[in-house]
Protein backbone atom coordinates (compact mmCIF):
# COMPACT_ATOMS: atom_id res chain seq x y z
CA UNK A 1 0.00 0.00 0.00
CA UNK A 2 2.80 2.37 0.92
CA UNK A 3 4.50 1.31 -2.27
CA UNK A 4 1.48 2.21 -4.38
CA UNK A 5 0.95 5.52 -2.60
CA UNK A 6 4.52 6.57 -3.24
CA UNK A 7 4.06 5.59 -6.87
CA UNK A 8 1.02 7.84 -7.19
CA UNK A 9 3.08 10.78 -6.03
CA UNK A 10 5.93 9.91 -8.35
CA UNK A 11 3.69 9.68 -11.40
CA UNK A 12 1.94 12.89 -10.38
CA UNK A 13 5.27 14.71 -10.30
CA UNK A 14 6.03 13.52 -13.79
CA UNK A 15 2.63 14.66 -14.95
CA UNK A 16 3.17 18.14 -13.60
CA UNK A 17 6.57 18.37 -15.20
CA UNK A 18 5.12 17.26 -18.52
CA UNK A 19 2.31 19.76 -18.34
CA UNK A 20 4.54 22.64 -17.46
CA UNK A 21 6.10 22.26 -20.86
CA UNK A 22 2.76 22.90 -22.53
CA UNK A 23 1.27 25.56 -20.32
CA UNK A 24 -1.08 27.14 -22.84
CA UNK A 25 -2.93 23.90 -23.45
CA UNK A 26 -3.75 23.55 -19.83
CA UNK A 27 -6.43 26.21 -19.75
CA UNK A 28 -7.86 25.33 -23.12
CA UNK A 29 -8.29 21.80 -21.84
CA UNK A 30 -9.91 22.86 -18.59
CA UNK A 31 -12.26 25.20 -20.39
CA UNK A 32 -13.33 22.68 -22.99
CA UNK A 33 -13.85 20.11 -20.23
CA UNK A 34 -16.18 22.44 -18.40
CA UNK A 35 -18.01 23.34 -21.57
CA UNK A 36 -18.51 19.66 -22.24
CA UNK A 37 -20.08 19.39 -18.83
CA UNK A 38 -22.18 22.48 -19.41
CA UNK A 39 -24.22 20.83 -22.18
CA UNK A 40 -26.37 19.04 -19.68
CA UNK A 41 -26.66 22.03 -17.41
CA UNK A 42 -27.89 24.07 -20.34
CA UNK A 43 -30.39 21.33 -21.13
CA UNK A 44 -31.73 21.51 -17.58
CA UNK A 45 -31.89 25.28 -17.60
CA UNK A 46 -33.67 25.37 -20.97
CA UNK A 47 -36.18 22.76 -19.90
CA UNK A 48 -37.12 24.62 -16.76
CA UNK A 49 -37.90 27.65 -18.85
CA UNK A 50 -40.92 25.70 -20.03
CA UNK A 51 -41.95 23.71 -16.97
CA UNK A 52 -41.84 24.03 -13.19
CA UNK A 53 -41.15 20.46 -12.29
CA UNK A 54 -39.57 17.40 -13.81
CA UNK A 55 -41.30 14.33 -12.42
CA UNK A 56 -41.97 16.20 -9.18
CA UNK A 57 -38.47 17.68 -8.89
CA UNK A 58 -37.88 21.39 -8.88
CA UNK A 59 -35.18 23.14 -10.88
CA UNK A 60 -33.02 23.67 -7.81
CA UNK A 61 -33.25 19.97 -6.96
CA UNK A 62 -32.29 18.83 -10.44
CA UNK A 63 -29.38 21.27 -10.50
CA UNK A 64 -28.43 20.03 -7.03
CA UNK A 65 -28.11 16.51 -8.44
CA UNK A 66 -26.11 17.94 -11.31
CA UNK A 67 -23.75 19.69 -8.92
CA UNK A 68 -23.31 16.50 -6.91
CA UNK A 69 -22.54 14.53 -10.04
CA UNK A 70 -19.75 16.86 -11.04
CA UNK A 71 -17.81 16.17 -7.84
CA UNK A 72 -17.21 12.39 -8.24
CA UNK A 73 -17.02 12.84 -11.98
CA UNK A 74 -14.21 15.37 -11.70
CA UNK A 75 -12.29 13.12 -9.34
CA UNK A 76 -12.85 10.17 -11.62
CA UNK A 77 -11.74 12.07 -14.70
CA UNK A 78 -8.56 13.32 -13.10
CA UNK A 79 -7.46 9.95 -11.84
CA UNK A 80 -8.95 7.44 -14.19
CA UNK A 81 -8.52 8.54 -17.74
CA UNK A 82 -8.62 5.42 -19.87
CA UNK A 83 -9.78 6.96 -23.13
CA UNK A 84 -6.91 6.04 -25.36
CA UNK A 85 -6.22 2.67 -23.80
CA UNK A 86 -7.04 0.45 -26.76
CA UNK A 87 -5.11 2.59 -29.21
CA UNK A 88 -2.06 3.18 -27.09
CA UNK A 89 -1.68 -0.03 -25.15
CA UNK A 90 -3.16 -2.72 -27.34
CA UNK A 91 -2.66 -1.49 -30.90
CA UNK A 92 0.71 0.18 -30.31
CA UNK A 93 1.68 -2.59 -27.92
CA UNK A 94 2.62 -0.63 -24.82
CA UNK A 95 0.82 -3.22 -22.74
CA UNK A 96 3.89 -5.42 -23.19
CA UNK A 97 6.04 -2.84 -21.48
CA UNK A 98 3.55 -2.50 -18.64
CA UNK A 99 3.63 -6.24 -18.13
CA UNK A 100 7.40 -6.25 -17.68
CA UNK A 101 7.14 -3.93 -14.67
CA UNK A 102 6.64 -5.05 -11.10
CA UNK A 103 3.35 -3.36 -10.25
CA UNK A 104 -0.27 -4.19 -11.00
CA UNK A 105 -0.96 -3.50 -14.66
CA UNK A 106 -4.19 -1.55 -14.12
CA UNK A 107 -2.48 0.63 -11.57
CA UNK A 108 0.35 1.43 -13.94
CA UNK A 109 -1.99 2.20 -16.81
CA UNK A 110 -4.10 4.49 -14.65
CA UNK A 111 -1.09 6.33 -13.30
CA UNK A 112 0.43 6.81 -16.70
CA UNK A 113 -2.72 8.64 -17.75
CA UNK A 114 -3.69 10.83 -14.84
CA UNK A 115 -5.17 14.17 -15.78
CA UNK A 116 -5.35 16.33 -12.64
CA UNK A 117 -6.86 19.48 -14.24
CA UNK A 118 -10.20 17.68 -14.47
CA UNK A 119 -10.46 18.10 -10.72
CA UNK A 120 -11.47 21.69 -11.38
CA UNK A 121 -14.83 20.29 -12.52
CA UNK A 122 -15.26 18.93 -9.00
CA UNK A 123 -14.78 22.39 -7.53
CA UNK A 124 -17.27 23.90 -9.94
CA UNK A 125 -19.67 21.11 -9.01
CA UNK A 126 -19.15 21.78 -5.32
CA UNK A 127 -19.98 25.44 -5.86
CA UNK A 128 -23.16 24.57 -7.78
CA UNK A 129 -24.07 22.08 -5.08
CA UNK A 130 -23.45 24.71 -2.41
CA UNK A 131 -25.66 27.29 -4.09
CA UNK A 132 -28.54 24.83 -4.42
CA UNK A 133 -27.96 23.63 -0.88
CA UNK A 134 -28.58 27.13 0.39
CA UNK A 135 -31.49 27.71 -1.99
CA UNK A 136 -33.21 24.53 -0.92
CA UNK A 137 -32.56 25.33 2.72
CA UNK A 138 -31.10 21.92 3.54
CA UNK A 139 -29.48 21.66 6.98
CA UNK A 140 -25.72 21.23 6.91
CA UNK A 141 -23.59 19.76 9.66
CA UNK A 142 -20.78 17.33 10.28
CA UNK A 143 -23.08 14.34 9.60
CA UNK A 144 -24.12 15.66 6.22
CA UNK A 145 -20.51 16.36 5.32
CA UNK A 146 -19.41 12.85 6.25
CA UNK A 147 -22.30 11.29 4.35
CA UNK A 148 -21.46 13.44 1.35
CA UNK A 149 -17.86 12.26 1.44
CA UNK A 150 -18.86 8.61 1.71
CA UNK A 151 -21.31 9.03 -1.16
CA UNK A 152 -18.71 10.71 -3.35
CA UNK A 153 -16.21 7.94 -2.66
CA UNK A 154 -18.86 5.35 -3.47
CA UNK A 155 -19.73 7.12 -6.71
CA UNK A 156 -16.11 7.35 -7.77
CA UNK A 157 -15.71 3.63 -7.10
CA UNK A 158 -18.72 2.81 -9.26
CA UNK A 159 -17.42 4.94 -12.08
CA UNK A 160 -13.98 3.42 -11.83
CA UNK A 161 -15.39 -0.10 -11.77
CA UNK A 162 -17.64 0.42 -14.77
CA UNK A 163 -14.99 2.11 -16.88
CA UNK A 164 -12.31 -0.37 -15.91
CA UNK A 165 -14.56 -3.18 -17.08
CA UNK A 166 -15.42 -1.34 -20.29
CA UNK A 167 -11.77 -0.61 -20.97
CA UNK A 168 -10.90 -4.23 -20.38
CA UNK A 169 -13.13 -5.14 -23.33
CA UNK A 170 -10.20 -3.96 -25.47
CA UNK A 171 -8.44 -7.15 -24.43
CA UNK A 172 -11.06 -9.19 -26.23
CA UNK A 173 -12.27 -6.99 -29.02
CA UNK A 174 -10.32 -5.64 -31.94
CA UNK A 175 -12.19 -2.35 -32.04
CA UNK A 176 -9.66 0.45 -31.92
CA UNK A 177 -12.04 3.07 -30.62
CA UNK A 178 -13.75 0.89 -28.07
CA UNK A 179 -17.23 1.56 -26.88
CA UNK A 180 -16.27 4.16 -24.31
CA UNK A 181 -17.42 7.14 -26.36
CA UNK A 182 -20.81 5.55 -26.83
CA UNK A 183 -21.08 4.89 -23.13
CA UNK A 184 -20.24 8.49 -22.52
CA UNK A 185 -23.71 9.47 -23.70
CA UNK A 186 -25.49 7.28 -21.17
CA UNK A 187 -23.66 8.42 -18.10
CA UNK A 188 -25.51 11.73 -18.01
CA UNK A 189 -28.84 10.05 -17.56
CA UNK A 190 -28.20 9.21 -13.94
CA UNK A 191 -28.51 12.90 -13.26
CA UNK A 192 -32.23 13.19 -13.90
CA UNK A 193 -34.99 12.06 -11.56
CA UNK A 194 -34.94 8.36 -12.26
CA UNK A 195 -38.64 7.89 -11.66
CA UNK A 196 -39.49 9.59 -14.94
CA UNK A 197 -38.06 6.66 -16.88
CA UNK A 198 -39.80 3.38 -17.48
CA UNK A 199 -38.91 0.26 -15.58
CA UNK A 200 -36.36 -1.11 -18.02
CA UNK A 201 -34.27 2.04 -18.17
CA UNK A 202 -34.46 2.34 -14.40
CA UNK A 203 -33.10 -1.18 -14.07
CA UNK A 204 -30.31 -0.43 -16.53
CA UNK A 205 -29.30 2.76 -14.75
CA UNK A 206 -29.51 1.12 -11.33
CA UNK A 207 -28.01 -2.30 -11.76
CA UNK A 208 -26.31 -2.64 -15.14
CA UNK A 209 -24.75 0.70 -15.95
CA UNK A 210 -25.40 2.08 -12.46
CA UNK A 211 -24.93 5.74 -13.28
CA UNK A 212 -27.92 6.63 -11.12
CA UNK A 213 -25.57 5.98 -8.19
CA UNK A 214 -23.32 8.73 -9.50
CA UNK A 215 -26.09 11.26 -9.42
CA UNK A 216 -29.69 11.00 -8.46
CA UNK A 217 -29.55 8.29 -5.76
CA UNK A 218 -26.83 9.65 -3.48
CA UNK A 219 -27.98 13.24 -3.98
CA UNK A 220 -31.51 12.33 -3.03
CA UNK A 221 -30.26 11.48 0.44
CA UNK A 222 -30.16 15.20 1.12
CA UNK A 223 -33.34 16.03 -0.74
CA UNK A 224 -36.94 15.55 0.17
CA UNK A 225 -37.62 12.84 -2.37
CA UNK A 226 -38.63 9.69 -0.56
CA UNK A 227 -38.69 7.23 -3.48
CA UNK A 228 -35.01 6.99 -4.08
CA UNK A 229 -33.75 7.70 -0.60
CA UNK A 230 -33.35 4.06 0.34
CA UNK A 231 -31.09 3.64 -2.64
CA UNK A 232 -28.85 6.45 -1.48
CA UNK A 233 -27.37 4.29 1.25
CA UNK A 234 -26.61 1.58 -1.25
CA UNK A 235 -24.10 3.85 -3.01
CA UNK A 236 -20.97 2.76 -1.13
CA UNK A 237 -22.04 -0.88 -1.31
CA UNK A 238 -22.53 -0.66 -5.06
CA UNK A 239 -19.20 1.09 -5.21
CA UNK A 240 -17.41 -1.83 -3.62
CA UNK A 241 -19.26 -4.38 -5.74
CA UNK A 242 -18.61 -2.64 -9.05
CA UNK A 243 -15.02 -1.74 -8.32
CA UNK A 244 -14.25 -5.33 -7.34
CA UNK A 245 -16.07 -6.59 -10.41
CA UNK A 246 -14.26 -4.14 -12.64
CA UNK A 247 -10.85 -5.14 -11.34
CA UNK A 248 -11.63 -8.83 -11.57
CA UNK A 249 -12.77 -8.39 -15.15
CA UNK A 250 -9.60 -6.44 -15.91
CA UNK A 251 -7.47 -9.23 -14.47
CA UNK A 252 -9.41 -11.73 -16.52
CA UNK A 253 -8.80 -9.59 -19.61
CA UNK A 254 -5.08 -9.42 -18.91
CA UNK A 255 -5.00 -13.19 -18.54
CA UNK A 256 -6.76 -13.53 -21.84
CA UNK A 257 -4.39 -11.03 -23.46
CA UNK A 258 -1.40 -12.95 -22.23
CA UNK A 259 -2.91 -16.14 -23.50
CA UNK A 260 -3.86 -14.85 -26.93
CA UNK A 261 -1.17 -12.28 -27.52
CA UNK A 262 -1.25 -9.93 -30.43
Amino acid sequence: MVFYTSLIWEYMKNYIKTKLTYRADFWVEVLSDLLFQATNLIFILVIFQHTDSLGGWSEAEVVFVYGYFMIPYGIFMSFINLWGFSERYIVKGEMDRVLTRPAHSLFQVILENIDPPSIIGSFVGAVILGICWVQLDIPFGIVELLVLIVMVIGSVMIYTGVYTALTAISFFSDAPTGILPLMFNIQGYGRYPITIYNRLIQVVLTWIAPFAFVGVYPASYFLDQEITKSFALLTPVMGIVFLTGGILFWNYGVRKYRGAGS
Partner: protein, 348 residues
Protein backbone atom coordinates in the same frame (compact mmCIF):
# COMPACT_ATOMS: atom_id res chain seq x y z
CA UNK B 1 23.09 -22.75 -12.49
CA UNK B 2 20.62 -22.24 -15.29
CA UNK B 3 19.32 -18.76 -15.99
CA UNK B 4 16.79 -19.91 -18.55
CA UNK B 5 15.40 -23.38 -18.88
CA UNK B 6 12.83 -24.01 -21.59
CA UNK B 7 11.28 -27.36 -22.37
CA UNK B 8 8.82 -28.21 -25.15
CA UNK B 9 7.61 -24.65 -25.28
CA UNK B 10 4.64 -24.11 -27.56
CA UNK B 11 2.49 -21.11 -28.40
CA UNK B 12 -0.63 -21.10 -30.53
CA UNK B 13 -2.64 -18.09 -31.62
CA UNK B 14 -6.16 -17.83 -32.91
CA UNK B 15 -6.01 -15.70 -35.98
CA UNK B 16 -9.21 -14.26 -37.28
CA UNK B 17 -10.01 -15.01 -40.87
CA UNK B 18 -11.35 -12.03 -42.77
CA UNK B 19 -13.71 -12.98 -45.52
CA UNK B 20 -13.46 -10.93 -48.63
CA UNK B 21 -15.70 -8.15 -49.82
CA UNK B 22 -18.76 -6.48 -48.36
CA UNK B 23 -20.65 -9.76 -48.16
CA UNK B 24 -17.79 -11.47 -46.38
CA UNK B 25 -17.49 -8.60 -43.94
CA UNK B 26 -21.23 -8.83 -43.22
CA UNK B 27 -20.86 -12.52 -42.51
CA UNK B 28 -17.91 -11.78 -40.24
CA UNK B 29 -20.09 -9.41 -38.27
CA UNK B 30 -22.23 -12.28 -37.10
CA UNK B 31 -19.95 -15.26 -37.17
CA UNK B 32 -16.20 -15.16 -36.98
CA UNK B 33 -13.90 -17.81 -38.25
CA UNK B 34 -10.55 -18.42 -36.73
CA UNK B 35 -7.53 -20.37 -37.74
CA UNK B 36 -5.05 -21.70 -35.27
CA UNK B 37 -1.50 -20.67 -35.95
CA UNK B 38 1.37 -22.27 -34.12
CA UNK B 39 4.03 -19.61 -33.69
CA UNK B 40 6.41 -21.54 -31.47
CA UNK B 41 6.64 -25.27 -31.99
CA UNK B 42 7.83 -27.23 -28.98
CA UNK B 43 11.24 -25.70 -28.56
CA UNK B 44 13.70 -26.57 -25.79
CA UNK B 45 16.91 -24.86 -24.79
CA UNK B 46 18.89 -23.98 -21.70
CA UNK B 47 20.99 -20.93 -21.02
CA UNK B 48 23.42 -21.01 -18.11
CA UNK B 49 23.97 -17.98 -15.94
CA UNK B 50 26.36 -15.40 -17.35
CA UNK B 51 26.01 -16.40 -20.98
CA UNK B 52 25.31 -14.02 -23.83
CA UNK B 53 23.08 -15.78 -26.26
CA UNK B 54 21.93 -14.55 -29.64
CA UNK B 55 18.44 -15.42 -30.73
CA UNK B 56 18.08 -15.03 -34.45
CA UNK B 57 15.66 -15.84 -37.20
CA UNK B 58 13.72 -14.17 -39.95
CA UNK B 59 10.75 -11.95 -39.29
CA UNK B 60 7.87 -14.08 -38.10
CA UNK B 61 10.06 -16.99 -37.08
CA UNK B 62 8.76 -16.79 -33.52
CA UNK B 63 11.50 -14.78 -31.82
CA UNK B 64 9.31 -12.10 -30.32
CA UNK B 65 6.75 -14.62 -29.18
CA UNK B 66 9.43 -16.56 -27.34
CA UNK B 67 10.81 -13.41 -25.74
CA UNK B 68 7.32 -12.41 -24.66
CA UNK B 69 6.83 -15.79 -23.02
CA UNK B 70 10.21 -15.63 -21.32
CA UNK B 71 9.45 -12.18 -19.92
CA UNK B 72 6.05 -13.19 -18.60
CA UNK B 73 4.01 -11.12 -21.04
CA UNK B 74 2.49 -14.13 -22.76
CA UNK B 75 1.34 -17.39 -21.27
CA UNK B 76 2.52 -20.41 -23.25
CA UNK B 77 0.04 -22.89 -24.71
CA UNK B 78 2.10 -25.74 -23.33
CA UNK B 79 5.57 -26.58 -22.12
CA UNK B 80 7.73 -25.54 -19.19
CA UNK B 81 9.65 -22.32 -18.70
CA UNK B 82 11.87 -21.39 -15.81
CA UNK B 83 13.64 -18.08 -15.82
CA UNK B 84 15.69 -17.07 -12.83
CA UNK B 85 13.99 -19.87 -10.92
CA UNK B 86 10.52 -18.44 -11.62
CA UNK B 87 7.77 -19.53 -13.91
CA UNK B 88 7.44 -16.13 -15.62
CA UNK B 89 3.69 -16.05 -16.17
CA UNK B 90 2.97 -16.98 -12.58
CA UNK B 91 4.07 -14.51 -9.91
CA UNK B 92 4.63 -11.98 -12.66
CA UNK B 93 5.27 -8.97 -10.43
CA UNK B 94 7.88 -10.75 -8.34
CA UNK B 95 9.55 -12.28 -11.35
CA UNK B 96 9.95 -9.12 -13.41
CA UNK B 97 11.83 -7.38 -10.63
CA UNK B 98 14.80 -9.61 -11.49
CA UNK B 99 14.81 -9.04 -15.23
CA UNK B 100 15.42 -6.13 -17.56
CA UNK B 101 13.75 -5.75 -20.93
CA UNK B 102 14.48 -3.45 -23.84
CA UNK B 103 12.20 -3.42 -26.85
CA UNK B 104 14.27 -1.60 -29.43
CA UNK B 105 11.26 -0.27 -31.26
CA UNK B 106 9.36 0.96 -28.22
CA UNK B 107 10.32 3.49 -25.63
CA UNK B 108 9.92 3.02 -21.94
CA UNK B 109 10.80 6.63 -21.17
CA UNK B 110 8.51 9.61 -20.72
CA UNK B 111 8.42 11.52 -23.93
CA UNK B 112 8.15 15.08 -22.70
CA UNK B 113 10.29 15.25 -19.60
CA UNK B 114 13.94 14.89 -18.68
CA UNK B 115 15.39 11.38 -18.85
CA UNK B 116 16.32 11.53 -15.19
CA UNK B 117 12.65 11.84 -14.21
CA UNK B 118 11.87 8.56 -15.91
CA UNK B 119 14.78 6.95 -14.07
CA UNK B 120 13.50 8.28 -10.76
CA UNK B 121 10.11 6.83 -11.45
CA UNK B 122 11.55 3.46 -12.39
CA UNK B 123 13.53 3.49 -9.18
CA UNK B 124 10.23 3.67 -7.33
CA UNK B 125 8.56 1.07 -9.46
CA UNK B 126 11.39 -1.40 -8.93
CA UNK B 127 11.82 -0.37 -5.29
CA UNK B 128 15.53 0.27 -5.57
CA UNK B 129 16.96 1.88 -2.41
CA UNK B 130 18.13 5.45 -2.93
CA UNK B 131 21.82 4.84 -2.19
CA UNK B 132 22.04 1.79 -4.39
CA UNK B 133 20.20 3.62 -7.16
CA UNK B 134 22.60 6.53 -7.04
CA UNK B 135 25.64 4.33 -7.20
CA UNK B 136 24.24 2.32 -10.06
CA UNK B 137 23.07 5.36 -11.99
CA UNK B 138 26.41 7.09 -11.64
CA UNK B 139 28.19 4.05 -12.93
CA UNK B 140 25.87 3.62 -15.91
CA UNK B 141 25.85 7.31 -16.74
CA UNK B 142 29.59 7.48 -16.71
CA UNK B 143 30.01 4.33 -18.70
CA UNK B 144 27.56 5.42 -21.41
CA UNK B 145 28.45 9.12 -21.21
CA UNK B 146 24.98 10.39 -20.55
CA UNK B 147 25.92 13.26 -18.21
CA UNK B 148 24.71 15.96 -20.56
CA UNK B 149 21.56 14.17 -21.58
CA UNK B 150 20.00 13.51 -18.20
CA UNK B 151 17.92 16.66 -18.08
CA UNK B 152 16.92 16.70 -21.70
CA UNK B 153 13.41 15.58 -22.67
CA UNK B 154 13.38 12.28 -24.52
CA UNK B 155 11.79 13.77 -27.63
CA UNK B 156 14.90 15.93 -28.06
CA UNK B 157 17.28 12.97 -28.04
CA UNK B 158 18.70 11.31 -31.11
CA UNK B 159 17.93 7.64 -31.62
CA UNK B 160 21.38 6.61 -30.42
CA UNK B 161 21.14 8.73 -27.30
CA UNK B 162 17.69 7.42 -26.62
CA UNK B 163 18.74 3.82 -26.96
CA UNK B 164 21.56 4.34 -24.48
CA UNK B 165 19.03 5.79 -22.06
CA UNK B 166 16.69 2.87 -22.68
CA UNK B 167 19.49 0.52 -21.72
CA UNK B 168 20.10 2.40 -18.50
CA UNK B 169 16.38 2.35 -17.75
CA UNK B 170 16.27 -1.40 -18.02
CA UNK B 171 19.38 -1.92 -15.92
CA UNK B 172 18.77 0.40 -12.99
CA UNK B 173 17.54 -2.38 -10.76
CA UNK B 174 20.54 -4.50 -11.60
CA UNK B 175 18.66 -7.41 -13.18
CA UNK B 176 20.42 -10.73 -13.44
CA UNK B 177 18.85 -11.47 -16.83
CA UNK B 178 18.42 -8.93 -19.59
CA UNK B 179 16.27 -9.42 -22.65
CA UNK B 180 17.12 -7.19 -25.58
CA UNK B 181 14.76 -7.20 -28.52
CA UNK B 182 16.66 -5.66 -31.41
CA UNK B 183 18.66 -3.22 -29.31
CA UNK B 184 20.71 -1.85 -32.19
CA UNK B 185 17.98 -1.39 -34.76
CA UNK B 186 18.41 1.79 -36.74
CA UNK B 187 21.60 2.90 -35.01
CA UNK B 188 24.77 4.07 -36.66
CA UNK B 189 27.94 2.04 -36.49
CA UNK B 190 29.57 4.12 -33.77
CA UNK B 191 26.67 3.79 -31.37
CA UNK B 192 26.31 0.12 -32.20
CA UNK B 193 29.91 -0.52 -31.27
CA UNK B 194 29.55 1.47 -28.11
CA UNK B 195 26.50 -0.47 -27.03
CA UNK B 196 28.14 -3.80 -27.80
CA UNK B 197 31.18 -2.86 -25.75
CA UNK B 198 28.97 -1.80 -22.91
CA UNK B 199 26.95 -5.01 -22.89
CA UNK B 200 30.08 -7.11 -22.98
CA UNK B 201 31.57 -5.29 -20.06
CA UNK B 202 28.41 -5.52 -18.04
CA UNK B 203 28.24 -9.23 -18.71
CA UNK B 204 31.78 -9.68 -17.50
CA UNK B 205 31.46 -7.53 -14.40
CA UNK B 206 28.08 -8.65 -13.12
CA UNK B 207 27.72 -12.02 -14.78
CA UNK B 208 24.51 -10.73 -16.32
CA UNK B 209 22.83 -13.22 -18.57
CA UNK B 210 21.83 -11.62 -21.86
CA UNK B 211 19.45 -12.93 -24.46
CA UNK B 212 19.27 -10.76 -27.51
CA UNK B 213 17.38 -10.89 -30.75
CA UNK B 214 18.79 -9.05 -33.68
CA UNK B 215 18.93 -8.86 -37.42
CA UNK B 216 22.43 -7.49 -37.30
CA UNK B 217 24.76 -10.46 -37.21
CA UNK B 218 27.65 -8.27 -36.22
CA UNK B 219 25.92 -7.92 -32.89
CA UNK B 220 26.12 -11.67 -32.65
CA UNK B 221 29.73 -11.87 -33.76
CA UNK B 222 30.77 -9.19 -31.32
CA UNK B 223 28.86 -10.45 -28.33
CA UNK B 224 27.58 -13.96 -28.42
CA UNK B 225 29.32 -17.15 -27.55
CA UNK B 226 26.22 -18.96 -28.61
CA UNK B 227 23.48 -18.64 -31.18
CA UNK B 228 20.01 -20.07 -31.29
CA UNK B 229 18.52 -19.91 -34.72
CA UNK B 230 14.81 -20.12 -35.21
CA UNK B 231 12.87 -20.88 -38.33
CA UNK B 232 9.13 -21.25 -38.58
CA UNK B 233 8.79 -21.74 -34.83
CA UNK B 234 11.47 -24.41 -34.56
CA UNK B 235 15.08 -24.26 -33.47
CA UNK B 236 17.22 -25.10 -36.45
CA UNK B 237 20.56 -24.40 -34.86
CA UNK B 238 21.76 -24.13 -31.30
CA UNK B 239 25.45 -23.89 -30.61
CA UNK B 240 28.60 -21.83 -30.87
CA UNK B 241 29.16 -19.27 -33.55
CA UNK B 242 32.40 -20.92 -34.66
CA UNK B 243 30.73 -24.27 -35.18
CA UNK B 244 28.05 -22.51 -37.15
CA UNK B 245 30.69 -21.04 -39.42
CA UNK B 246 32.53 -24.28 -39.67
CA UNK B 247 29.45 -26.26 -40.46
CA UNK B 248 27.88 -23.86 -42.88
CA UNK B 249 30.72 -21.75 -44.17
CA UNK B 250 31.35 -23.66 -47.33
CA UNK B 251 34.60 -22.16 -48.43
CA UNK B 252 36.47 -19.10 -49.53
CA UNK B 253 36.79 -17.15 -52.67
CA UNK B 254 39.92 -15.67 -54.16
CA UNK B 255 39.77 -12.87 -56.71
CA UNK B 256 42.65 -12.44 -59.12
CA UNK B 257 43.49 -9.54 -61.35
CA UNK B 258 45.98 -10.44 -64.07
CA UNK B 259 48.41 -8.21 -65.92
CA UNK B 260 47.86 -9.97 -69.24
CA UNK B 261 44.78 -11.58 -70.78
CA UNK B 262 44.35 -15.24 -69.96
CA UNK B 263 42.21 -18.24 -70.83
CA UNK B 264 40.00 -20.13 -68.42
CA UNK B 265 41.60 -23.40 -69.50
CA UNK B 266 45.01 -22.10 -68.46
CA UNK B 267 43.83 -21.51 -64.94
CA UNK B 268 42.05 -24.82 -64.68
CA UNK B 269 45.20 -26.49 -65.89
CA UNK B 270 47.25 -24.81 -63.17
CA UNK B 271 45.06 -26.06 -60.38
CA UNK B 272 44.43 -29.48 -61.83
CA UNK B 273 43.93 -32.06 -59.09
CA UNK B 274 42.49 -29.58 -56.63
CA UNK B 275 38.71 -29.42 -56.03
CA UNK B 276 38.28 -25.78 -56.99
CA UNK B 277 35.97 -23.95 -59.34
CA UNK B 278 37.03 -21.08 -61.54
CA UNK B 279 34.88 -18.44 -63.07
CA UNK B 280 35.93 -15.44 -65.12
CA UNK B 281 34.56 -11.96 -65.19
CA UNK B 282 36.53 -10.57 -68.09
CA UNK B 283 39.81 -11.43 -69.68
CA UNK B 284 41.80 -9.83 -66.88
CA UNK B 285 39.90 -10.90 -63.76
CA UNK B 286 38.87 -14.29 -62.42
CA UNK B 287 37.44 -15.82 -59.26
CA UNK B 288 38.22 -19.18 -57.78
CA UNK B 289 36.06 -20.87 -55.20
CA UNK B 290 37.93 -23.03 -52.73
CA UNK B 291 36.14 -25.46 -50.41
CA UNK B 292 37.25 -25.80 -46.80
CA UNK B 293 39.13 -29.03 -47.43
CA UNK B 294 41.55 -27.34 -49.77
CA UNK B 295 44.24 -25.00 -48.52
CA UNK B 296 44.16 -21.52 -49.94
CA UNK B 297 47.93 -21.39 -49.98
CA UNK B 298 48.11 -24.47 -52.22
CA UNK B 299 46.00 -22.73 -54.81
CA UNK B 300 47.90 -19.48 -54.53
CA UNK B 301 51.28 -21.07 -54.88
CA UNK B 302 50.27 -22.74 -58.11
CA UNK B 303 48.86 -19.57 -59.65
CA UNK B 304 51.21 -16.89 -58.37
CA UNK B 305 54.45 -18.25 -59.73
CA UNK B 306 53.22 -18.72 -63.28
CA UNK B 307 51.26 -15.60 -64.12
CA UNK B 308 51.82 -11.93 -63.54
CA UNK B 309 49.24 -10.76 -61.04
CA UNK B 310 48.35 -7.16 -60.20
CA UNK B 311 45.92 -7.79 -57.35
CA UNK B 312 44.63 -10.61 -55.11
CA UNK B 313 41.65 -10.56 -52.77
CA UNK B 314 40.73 -13.37 -50.42
CA UNK B 315 37.12 -13.40 -49.27
CA UNK B 316 35.90 -15.47 -46.33
CA UNK B 317 32.24 -16.29 -46.33
CA UNK B 318 30.91 -14.14 -43.51
CA UNK B 319 28.15 -14.94 -41.10
CA UNK B 320 25.69 -12.87 -43.06
CA UNK B 321 26.12 -15.13 -46.05
CA UNK B 322 25.93 -18.24 -43.97
CA UNK B 323 22.78 -17.18 -42.26
CA UNK B 324 21.21 -15.98 -45.46
CA UNK B 325 22.02 -19.35 -46.92
CA UNK B 326 20.42 -21.13 -43.99
CA UNK B 327 17.35 -18.91 -44.07
CA UNK B 328 17.00 -19.50 -47.76
CA UNK B 329 17.16 -23.23 -47.43
CA UNK B 330 15.65 -23.24 -43.96
CA UNK B 331 12.12 -23.61 -45.14
CA UNK B 332 13.06 -26.39 -47.50
CA UNK B 333 12.45 -29.62 -45.60
CA UNK B 334 15.45 -31.36 -47.02
CA UNK B 335 18.11 -29.05 -45.69
CA UNK B 336 16.47 -28.90 -42.28
CA UNK B 337 16.50 -32.65 -42.02
CA UNK B 338 20.05 -32.58 -43.16
CA UNK B 339 20.90 -30.08 -40.47
CA UNK B 340 19.06 -31.86 -37.71
CA UNK B 341 20.62 -35.12 -38.78
CA UNK B 342 24.01 -33.60 -38.56
CA UNK B 343 23.29 -32.30 -35.12
CA UNK B 344 22.14 -35.65 -33.93
CA UNK B 345 25.38 -37.11 -35.12
CA UNK B 346 27.36 -34.52 -33.25
CA UNK B 347 25.40 -35.22 -30.10
CA UNK B 348 26.15 -38.89 -30.17
Amino acid sequence: MLAIDVKDLRKEFNVQKNREGVKGAMLDLFRREYTKVRAVKDISFQIPKGEICGYIGENGAGKSTTIKMLTGILVPTSGDIRVNGFVPYQEREKFVRGIGVVFGQRSQLWWDIGVIESFQLLRKVYRVPEAEFKKRLDELVERLQLQDLLNRPVRKLSLGQRMRCELVASLLHNPSIVFLDEPTIGLDIVVKTEIREFLKQMNQRYETTILLTTHDLQDIEALCSRVIMLDDGRIIYDGGLDELKAKWGKGREVHFQFAAPFQLEQLQFLTAGLEVAWSIENEYTAKVWIPLEVNVSDVLSRVVGTTEITDIKIIETNTDDIVREIYKSGSAEESKLHLLGEEKVSNV
